[in-house]
């Protein structure tokens, strides 16, 4: 027996719930979970891991909203509010693009999957690091803005290297998640 009601009402609640929880998850990954990078004693955060995961599991729109909002909230809460609008754009569009790539490639075929991973890594990095470079350049000069590029690329590397296995592990350990993409 199928539920006869209009599914769209429940879908709205589900979408709000999914975006809200994933936004919170992205914020936590950005602010709290930090991986020390030994040589430089610097930290990278796991924002891109969360965005990769969201884009692959929940699709482009959720990734746009949760990735952008989550990282922007992390900036606001962490005291870097001046970055929040830029971050929203950089990470949001990054999530959207990664999500779109995986949506068109599908997740069944292995070869396509690897291709999608490579393309989304390159495009994601270009969008994210590019946005920060351009806006940073406008604010305080391209010289200083260029110094942030390596760190941002490293973040994206972490995003792919951790985000993809995370997607696989969660999908295996919690199968119902397969129905959450839209």
């Amino acid at each position: 027996m199928e539920n006869q009601t209009d599914k769209s009402k429940q879908n709205l609640a589900f979408r709000i719930a999914a975006i809200a929880v994933l936004t919170a998850l992205t914020t936590v990954c950005t602010m709290i979970i930090r991986v020390p990078v030994t040589p430089t004693r610097g930290y990278i955060n796991l924002a891109d891991v969360a965005i990769f995961f969201t884009a692959m599991t929940f699709g482009p729109f959720t990734a746009l909203a949760a990735g952008g909002l989550g990282t922007a909230l992390a900036d606001i809460l962490g005291g870097y509010a001046q970055w929040a609008p830029i971050t929203f754009f950089a990470h949001g569009v990054q999530g959207l693009v990664i999500g779109l790539i995986f949506k068109t490639s599908g997740t069944e075929e292995k070869g396509k999957m690897v291709m999608a991973l490579v393309i989304s890594f390159i495009l994601g990095t270009l969008i994210m690091a590019g946005t920060y470079f351009v806006t940073g350049g406008l604010m305080y000069g391209f010289g200083a803005a260029a110094t942030e590029i390596p760190g941002n690329i490293l973040q994206n590397v972490a995003g792919v290297v951790l985000g993809f296995p995370l997607y696989l592990a969660v999908k295996k350990a919690y199968p119902p998640i397969a129905g959450y993409r839209w």
């Binding site: 919170a24 914020t27 606001i76 969660v170």
Partner: protein
């Protein structure tokens, strides 16, 4: 563990209506990017420093600057290298280290970036998150968007706490006679991964329950919503409106002067 920037205080900026603040924020921001010249940008930033000092006190000025000072140092070191036009000011062995234009450019960048940082700091320091959201919905931001943000804010401390619990739980997953303490064996990232998986599974599992909670709160109905709580206009809203207008006129006239020159 997670705290917003907002601190309650009885200052004039705290009492300033959040809708007016939301209106002024982008306008004040744009001014930083107008090619006004070094002196103007520095003076503009100085007003923000003075404003922060006057309203919140001296220590509050240092807080946002402390967060950006590594970047400020980078700007000071790197900008002169990229601006070699103009009269040389510093020279060693035929290599120009600093020109007057380079110095001016550096000053503009430092002033602009500190100013923007201070502007945002002031906004978030003196405006409570819920007033920002109420202000945004006054500007017709759809209810579902503010809802997403407020639910996310409710879940951030929850998930942060969950992360701590999960981390503790995973630390206990090794026995007395393990060959090596398991955390070292797998390295830092390897040790983090299981924690991350548990955290993500737990987060994802809350989505269906949250969906139910939302449905039972009536999210999805087609009738128009009512709103119990609105932004209360402060007592001196007329004064604030007047002040905002004056500020607008000042900005516009500055723009006109700049364009006609």
């Amino acid at each position: 563990m997670i705290d917003t920037l907002y601190r309650d205080a009885p200052s004039a900026l705290h009492r300033y209506d959040s809708r007016l603040k939301l209106f002024l924020l982008p306008l004040l921001l744009i001014i930083f990017f107008l090619p006004l010249g070094t002196a103007a940008v520095c003076a503009y930033t100085l007003t923000f420093i003075l404003l922060t000092m006057a309203v919140l006190g001296f220590r509050e000025v240092l807080m946002p600057l402390k967060a950006i000072f590594p970047l400020l140092i980078l700007i000071t070191i790197l900008t002169p290298f990229f601006h070699r036009a103009g009269e040389p000011l510093l020279e060693t062995g035929g290599i120009v280290l600093l020109t007057d234009e380079g110095a001016a450019e550096t000053l503009v960048y430092i002033a602009r970036f500190s100013g923007i940082s201070l502007l945002f700091f002031l906004f978030f320091r003196t405006t409570a998150m819920e007033n920002i959201l109420l202000g945004l919905s006054w500007y017709r931001l759809p209810y579902n968007m503010t809802l997403v943000i407020s639910i996310a804010l409710r879940y951030i401390p929850h998930l942060a706490g969950l992360y701590g619990q999960i981390k503790a739980a995973h630390a206990l997953r090794c026995g007395i006679n393990d060959e090596l303490p398991c955390r070292r064996k797998r390295g830092r990232i390897g040790g983090l991964f299981p924690i991350l998986v548990s955290l993500v599974i737990q987060s994802v599992k809350t989505i269906p329950t949250l969906t139910m909670a939302l449905e039972l709160k009536g999210i999805g109905r087609s009738n128009p919503r009512s709103r119990c709580r609105r932004l209360e206009s402060p007592a001196n809203i007329r004064m604030q409106l007047f002040f905002t207008l004056v500020l607008l006129v000042l900005m516009l006239s500055a723009l006109v002067v700049f364009l006609t020159n």
